[in-house]
Each structure stands twice: as structure tokens, then as C-alpha cells.
């Protein structure tokens, strides 16, 4: 039997009505299997959405995670903190899936060791940072705003410079968070080659 015939045979089985199994079994069984599949899929997805998962690779643990630690997003007076996915993965489902598909490139990078040494990481740092700046710029700093809600900002509780900028440039939408707040959670790369520091 040729390959073509085999495939055609399978196609016929798929498209013809079932001979022995009842419709009820097939629909109900399919439904229940679907629940299990979805539960498993979501659990796996969420498992990759934790800081523990991110820092299980030395590329993240030894470079960017160490840099996060002294910043306000890791240690601060109230103890509320952001983990990697809070800023780097969109919370909205469709965007999240899109980002996760993009992240398959990162799996590729991990397998082939694109940034597996400190030197390689530093060489790629500007490009990697620019991806993140571009993402936050084009979604109006959505991941910042998931916590830092503009409506809830009390300017009178801010320092004068913060008040001045937030009540003008940010309020008018002329600027978005990332325009000024680059390098707040990780060290900046050599910015001489970066457009518009």
C-alpha cells in the first residue's frame, strides 16, 4: 500500500460516520477529553509563566535576574513585587498566546546557546532590550499599566519632577511609561548605539 493510499484510508475513516461507537459517547467523550486537554494545556502554560521557570535557565538566572534584585521591583518597603512574567508576558489571553509563540525563538536560542555565556549575552543585550522597548512602546506600556494604573495615580503624593512629567507628557498620551523608564529593572546596554536614548 502506497503512502497516498494509507493517508486516503485515514481520511475516509475520519470523514465517514462511526459504525460502532454511539454519537453520545463520541460527543461526551470528546467533551470530557477536551476538558482534560485544556486543563493540562493551561497548567503547562502557567508553569512556564513563573519566575521559577524563567530562572531555571542560567542565562536568565545569572544575568537579568541578578540585576533585578536590587531594584524596586524586587525589594522595596511594602514587599509587593513583580516577577518576570508580570512585565514580560501579556496578561490578556490572545496576546499571551502570541507572545508564547514568539518565545519559541527563545527555545531555539536556548538549544543553540545564543547567549549561553556572559560575553554573548552582553553582545546581544542591546538587541534584546530593543525588542522589549519596542513591545512596550507599541502596546502603550500595557504591562506597566497592569499594576501602575494612571487613574489611581495621586500626583500630590509624587515628587515634583514626577508630578510635572506625569501630569503633562503622560496625561496627554504624548509619552508612555517606557519612554522615560528604561533600565529600571535591568542594567542598560551600551546606549551610544541605541537610537534615542
Amino acid at each position: 500500500m502506497s503512502l497516498k493510499e494509507t493517508v486516503l484510508g485515514w481520511w475516509q475513516t475520519l470523514t465517514s460516520p462511526s459504525r460502532f461507537l454511539s454519537l453520545g459517547l463520541l460527543t461526551l467523550g470528546g467533551f470530557i477529553a477536551g476538558i482534560f486537554f485544556w486543563g493540562g494545556f493551561n497548567t503547562a502554560l502557567e508553569a512556564t509563566n513563573t519566575e521559577k521557570f524563567c530562572t531555571s535557565c542560567h542565562e536568565m538566572r545569572d544575568n537579568v535576574f541578578q540585576e533585578l534584585k536590587p531594584t524596586i521591583h524586587y525589594s522595596n518597603r511594602s514587599g509587593v513585587r513583580a516577577t518576570c512574567p508580570d512585565c514580560h508576558v501579556p496578561h490578556n489571553w490572545t496576546d499571551k498566546i502570541a507572545r508564547k509563540m514568539q518565545a519559541s525563538k527563545e527555545v531555539w536560542g536556548k538549544i543553540f546557546g545564543t547567549i549561553d555565556t556572559r560575553e554573548k549575552f552582553l553582545a546581544h543585550r542591546l538587541e534584546l532590550a530593543q525588542h522589549e522597548w519596542h513591545r512596550l512602546k507599541s502596546n502603550d506600556s500595557l504591562e506597566c499599566r497592569n499594576c501602575h494604573n494612571y487613574q489611581s495615580m495621586d500626583f500630590t503624593r509624587q515628587s515634583k519632577r514626577a508630578m510635572d512629567q506625569h501630569s503633562t507628557a503622560l496625561a496627554s498620551g504624548e509619552k508612555t511609561c517606557i519612554d522615560c523608564h528604561k533600565g529600571i529593572a535591568h542594567r542598560l546596554p551600551d546606549m551610544k548605539t541605541a537610537a534615542g536614548q
Partner: protein, 155 residues
């Protein structure tokens, strides 16, 4: 007479030594902790963050920084200060521009970017805290001294 002076000096020395070891002595920096113990470090003072420019205490004093600079990156890769105080940024930020002298290299040539010898801002410009001064400073600037001299009071 000579012996009396010596005895007096000896007494004074003993007195000073006793004062130094007495636990009640409040030394500006150590506090009342005896010398053989380690002093409890004070809590970190708060950094003044009111954005109000301070007068210089003497003409050549580098202006003080009236805001927090925590986690501002200032290294080979990036100078955070210049993203507000740089020449091309002051219009947007309303921050005082870095002095033109800071664009001059040591040979007096004007450069487009801040001179390498002036790059590390925090070497001269510092933040202020609300810490209590352990040692009082009696420094008075020129204007005060001059005004006092004109009034005829030796100050």
C-alpha cells in the same frame, strides 16, 4: 611651682582619660557606646527629594542634588543623569543643564558630549539627607562675614 604644674597636668590627663572611657560620654559619631563595643548602626536617613534647588555655601561648591538618585545607572554604558540634565534634554525635563565647563576636556576643547573627566557626576554632586549632624559646623559664607565686618563686629 614646677612640680605643681606637673601634678596639675597629670590630673588633667587622668581626667581626660576617665572621661574617654566613661560610658556616659557622647561622642558625635560613636554615640554613648563604649570603645570596646560595636555601636549599633543608625537607621538610614531619608534622602531629601523635594526638588528645591539649594543655595551654594561657597562660590565653587558643586550644586547639590535635590532628589533621589537610587538605582540611577551611571557607568560605562549609560549616564542616567544626562537623560535629564544633558543639553538636548533640558527643554523637556526642565532640569538645570550641566555647566558648559563640563563639555570641555582638559585641553580646553569643547566637546559635543560631556567630557570624560566630568562623566561621573556623583564624584562632586551629592544628594542630601535629613540626618542629624554629629558635629556642628560653624562655617559662615563670605556674605555673612563681610556684613558682620561692616557692622564692626569681629566674627
Amino acid at each position: 611651682m614646677n612640680r605643681f604644674a606637673l601634678a596639675l597636668a597629670g590630673l588633667a590627663f587622668v581626667g581626660v582619660a576617665a572621661a574617654q572611657t566613661s560610658p556616659g560620654l557622647v561622642n558625635g559619631l560613636r554615640g554613648p557606646t563604649p570603645l570596646e563595643d560595636e555601636a549599633k548602626p543608625p537607621v538610614f536617613p531619608k534622602i531629601v527629594n523635594d526638588d528645591q534647588r539649594k543655595a551654594r555655601n561657597y562660590p565653587m561648591q558643586p550644586p547639590l542634588i535635590p532628589h533621589q538618585t537610587d538605582n540611577y545607572q551611571l557607568d560605562l554604558n549609560f549616564n542616567k543623569c544626562m537623560s535629564c540634565h544633558g543639553r538636548s534634554r533640558v527643554e523637556e525635563s526642565n532640569a538645570p543643564m550641566v555647566s558648559v565647563t563640563h563639555y570641555q576636556d582638559r585641553d580646553g576643547n569643547m566637546r559635543a558630549e560631556i567630557s570624560p573627566r566630568r562623566y561621573f557626576c556623583l564624584q562632586c554632586h551629592v544628594v542630601q539627607t535629613d540626618a542629624k549632624v554629629p558635629v556642628k559646623n560653624s562655617f559662615e559664607d563670605f556674605y555673612k562675614v563681610e556684613a558682620a565686618a561692616k557692622k564692626g563686629k569681629p566674627k
